[in-house]
């Protein structure tokens, strides 16, 4: 165990604590604990949404039955919920049938869109990386050849023969 605090001598305070524990015949805290400085891992939005929507697409399927009450009261609540579902499932299915179809279409549409967005994002990332490479990498080696002007061709040194006039016949 470590103590952190700049307004007291934390080590001295911890030594007093250890002394007292020792006097009481108790084990001291460990020496190797430490603060966990990591933040929580992010959740990828598209993947999570597709997964969560898939989980809940069938609205006729109930969530797990639970209660925050304990004892007899809790058991009574669970029993009441189970009974309601058993008795009413037929009607629940009937009432929510269209919702289930709608949810299916929404899920399909969303997953296609999200897949497309992810593909495009990854393509944009590739293109950006290529652009970055092209603009920041050292110049590519070039052949040491004289440059050739793409001008009009030079006139031949020999005098061109005049076209002969056609003979009169």
């Amino acid at each position: 165990m470590k103590l952190f605090g700049k307004d007291v001598t934390a080590k001295k305070l911890l030594d007093v604590v250890k002394e007292r524990l020792s006097a009481r015949g108790l084990l001291p805290p460990s020496e190797d604990a430490g603060l966990d400085r990591d933040v929580e891992a992010p959740v990828e939005a598209f993947a999570f949404a597709v997964e969560s929507m898939s989980e809940h697409v069938d609205t006729t399927r109930g969530l797990p039955i639970e209660t925050h009450r304990d004892g007899l009261q809790g058991r009574a609540v669970v029993l009441a919920k189970q009974t309601f579902r058993k008795v009413g499932q037929l009607f629940i299915n009937e009432a929510l049938a269209r919702q289930v179809v709608f949810n299916g279409h929404v899920l399909d549409g969303y997953s296609q869109l999200s897949a497309e967005v992810m593909r495009l994002r990854s393509r944009v990332a590739e293109l950006e990386a290529e652009l970055e490479r092209a603009t920041t990498s050292p110049k590519a080696p070039v052949l040491e050849v004289p440059s050739v002007k793409a001008a009009k061709p030079a006139a031949p040194k020999t005098k061109a023969a005049k076209p002969r006039k056609p003979r009169a016949r």
Binding site: F4, G5, V8, G34, V39, E40, E44, R69, G74
Partner: protein, 727 residues
């Protein structure tokens, strides 16, 4: 998060930015300070700052708003603490939404560096940190609920206090384990847990059973602000066992309550503590119990910890929050000030017009008219004629009132005076948090957001902006918005709302306070020691020539009479005056008639009582000139204009001396007699009858000192002072 949003709103005012708070759910009674999110309408240049925690449908709305968008992240409890419960999914969804928002925002803000790191991990770029507002003034002993403090102080020591909702990640079971170990060392030790719980919940029942076994544990549940302060202030030590905090506001509240803090260093806790208090990294309960005893009993250790903790609070002050917000938000375009030779002044007053007789509003008009030859004066006011409801009865827009330009803005909310009085009765004399006080000020009104937005937009047109009366919303919200050029004429009374800390914005932030009397100045300094520099300015009196005969002919009043001019309201002491006068009439056959001039809710009835209703200016002066004495029955005055007007025509005053201001005016003038009960009222009437000539001479001499020229010179000095040294 609601409290944080209100805190940010206040901090934004301190950097000159106006704004409103919207929420997905609005608790009943809070509609004065929070609007439902469905009412949100934006312009392209607006910035919407969305406060995010658990999953919310507001994210979808935010991402499609056609304006600039920002996020304030308050963190989300990791779902692992709620695995297998229905809460787990909205917690994960909240994190998924956090990722989804990345790349679609103009600004991302974490309320701690820890939260900012989570934002960065979720793909947000250029993340800023803005701390939450913690005001130590709200956690002083004076703010503690007396009966709760006495109750808790009766408990044995050491008293350990922890503040958190009773939910899994706060680890109340670990507090109980610590307490069990603590009781092995000091059997009389007490554990007090403050925070909401569901008494019917299985998890809480299990905790309660264990607490009973351990002994000396008190669950206080949800408490008022005063009770919360009492709990902190009763503690020998504050302990947190929480395993996840995005900030940990109770730690800072304990700092503000001068209690040493020991906390498990989870998530943002070490950062929040900033090296102050004590942070531990292992839940070794026997060791922690020894540590708690040491911290609770060793005076030197306590003092060292408390001193450091107090120092740390500076990082959460209003100034720190406002400064961090200003740096975090996208830069604003500010018009460049134009140099002018003439002075230009804006007056902000809750009602304005010739129709208002007496009070701060009439005072404002008088000053504006007198100032007009020396400066361009523009008045910013409401469309209300009725100060109880603030109903829009006048046309909005710009008109002229003689040399003055008057801009009227409609109130966006009206006051239900009965409901407001009930709210006031429930709040006065008790401590409150910022949200409670903001609610009172918002309910008080008048709510005219367009007025403040216009003033902020046109701020550079004015050398000074003068706010009249500290008590109303335009002053409390407007002064911090325009602090660099704000003057306040507070017209302070010794009245219950003066105890609200939110009014510090009106008293501490302007460039100067223009007071009416030395008593008012003293009252302000006592209540707000850091108040802005103040000057006693007062008012001048323009007396019309009084004609007593004309008044008697008009009204048919014969014989001596006492006169009251003003609003016919119980709050002005009129009911008490009527009761005392009836006793006078019973005891003396030649008791003077009581003449009342003014309108209001109170019906004046009784023997030798004449109620004239509202009278014109000349009739008022005629009545003043002929009265045996003028009666000033109000206890709450920052300056009694009626007293000065009576003195100007040589009429003595019988004044209620329970209020310091009237008492001071009578003492300084020697031109009146005071009363504070029925007996002294009767004695005062007799004395005035005997010494009227003498009192009248003193009255004229005192009134001669109150000249408009002196008043206007003081105003011009204040305005030029701002003009020369703009902060």
């Amino acid at each position: 998060m609601g409290a944080a949003a209100v805190g940010f709103q206040r901090a934004l005012r301190h950097v000159g930015i106006t704004g409103e708070v919207f929420a997905g759910e609005v608790e009943p009674g809070f509609d004065a300070i929070v609007h439902h999110a469905s009412k949100l309408r934006v312009d392209r240049d607006d910035l919407v700052l969305y406060h995010h925690g658990i999953a919310s449908s507001l994210v979808a709305k935010l991402l499609h708003l056609p304006c600039r968008r920002g996020l304030v992240f308050h963190n989300i409890t990791p779902a692992r603490f709620y695995a297998g419960t229905r809460l787990a999914e909205p917690l994960v969804t909240g994190r998924a939404q956090l990722t989804a928002m990345a790349g679609h925002l103009d600004v991302s803000i974490g309320v701690s560096r820890y939260n900012a790191r989570e934002l960065e991990a979720a793909g947000h770029r250029d993340v800023k940190v803005v701390p939450l507002l913690v005001e130590p003034e709200r956690f002083t002993v004076a703010q503690a609920d007396g009966s709760m403090l006495t109750r808790l102080k009766k408990l044995d020591t050491p008293r350990i206090v922890s503040v958190s909702r009773v939910v899994p990640h706060k680890r109340v079971e670990d507090l109980l384990s610590l307490h069990q170990e603590l009781r092995r060392i000091t059997p009389r030790a007490q554990l007090v847990i403050v925070g909401g719980y569901d008494a019917g919940q299985a998890a809480f029942k299990a905790l309660a059973r264990r607490a009973k076994q351990v002994g000396n544990v008190t669950f206080l549940g949800r408490v008022t602000h005063g009770q919360l302060v009492a709990a902190y202030r009763s503690a020998d030590c504050f302990v947190s066992m929480s395993e996840h905090e995005g900030v940990g506001v109770p730690l800072l509240e304990a700092f503000a309550s001068e209690v040493p803090v020991i906390a498990f260093g989870a998530a943002a806790v070490p950062e929040t503590m900033g090296g102050r208090g004590l942070v531990f990294d292992e839940k070794h309960f026997a060791a922690l119990a020894e540590l708690t005893v040491q911290v609770s009993t060793d005076a030197a250790v306590r003092a060292g910890l408390v001193e450091g903790q107090t120092e740390r609070l500076k990082d959460f002050s209003l100034e720190a929050v406002a400064s961090a917000l200003e740096k975090a938000l996208p830069p604003r375009r500010r018009p460049t000030p134009k140099k002018r030779d003439t002075r230009r002044v804006a007056f902000v007053v809750q009602r304005f017009g010739e129709f208002i007789v007496g009070g701060a509003e009439a005072h404002a008009r008088q000053v504006a008219l007198k100032l007009a030859p020396h400066a361009d004066v523009e008045v910013f006011t409401t469309c209300a004629t009725d100060h109880l409801s603030w109903k829009n009865e006048l046309e909005p827009g710009t008109t002229r009132d003689g040399p003055l330009t008057v801009h009227r803005f409609p109130a966006s909310r009206f006051r239900n005076i009965r409901g407001f009085n009930r709210l006031s009765d429930s709040m006065f004399g008790k401590p409150h948090d910022l949200v409670g006080e903001t609610r009172w000020v918002a309910d008080q009104g008048p709510t005219v957001p367009a007025l403040l937005e216009r003033l902020v937009a046109e701020r550079e047109r004015f050398d000074a902006v003068a706010f009249f009366t500290y008590l109303y919303q335009p002053t409390v919200y407007g002064v911090p918005l325009l602090a660099d050029r704000a003057l306040v004429v507070p017209t302070t009374h010794d009245e219950p709302p003066l105890a609200f800390h939110l009014f510090a914005d009106a008293f501490e932030k302007p460039r100067a306070l223009l007071c009416n009397t030395p008593e008012e100045e003293t009252l302000i300094r006592e209540r707000f020691p850091n108040a802005a520099p103040s000057t006693i300015v007062g008012v001048g009196i323009d007396a019309l020539h009084p004609d007593e005969r004309r008044f008697r002919q008009q009204t048919g009043i014969h014989g001596p009479y006492l006169l009251y001019v003003g609003r016919m309201e119980a709050g002005k002491g009129v009911a008490e005056l009527l009761a005392f006068h009836q006793q006078l009439v019973k005891k003396f056959h030649d008791a003077p008639t009581l003449v009342l001039a003014g309108s209001g809710e109170l019906q004046a009835r009784g023997s030798r009582v004449v109620a004239l209703g509202r009278v014109d200016e000349q009739t008022k002066w005629d009545a003043l000139g002929g009265a045996l004495a003028v009666v000033v029955p109000s206890r709450y005055e920052s300056l009694s204009l009626l007293t000065l007007e009576a003195f100007a025509v040589g009429t003595p005053v019988i004044g209620n001396t329970i209020g310091a201001v009237v008492r001071g005016q009578l003492e300084r003038s020697s031109a009146g007699v005071g009363y504070d009960d029925e007996r002294s009222f009767i004695a005062a009437v007799k004395e005035v009858g005997e010494r009227r000539k003498d009192l009248s001479r003193h009255a004229r001499r005192y009134a001669a000192k109150h000249q408009w020229q002196t008043v206007i010179d003081a105003w011009l000095t204040a305005i030029d002072g701002i003009k020369e040294t703009k902060r």
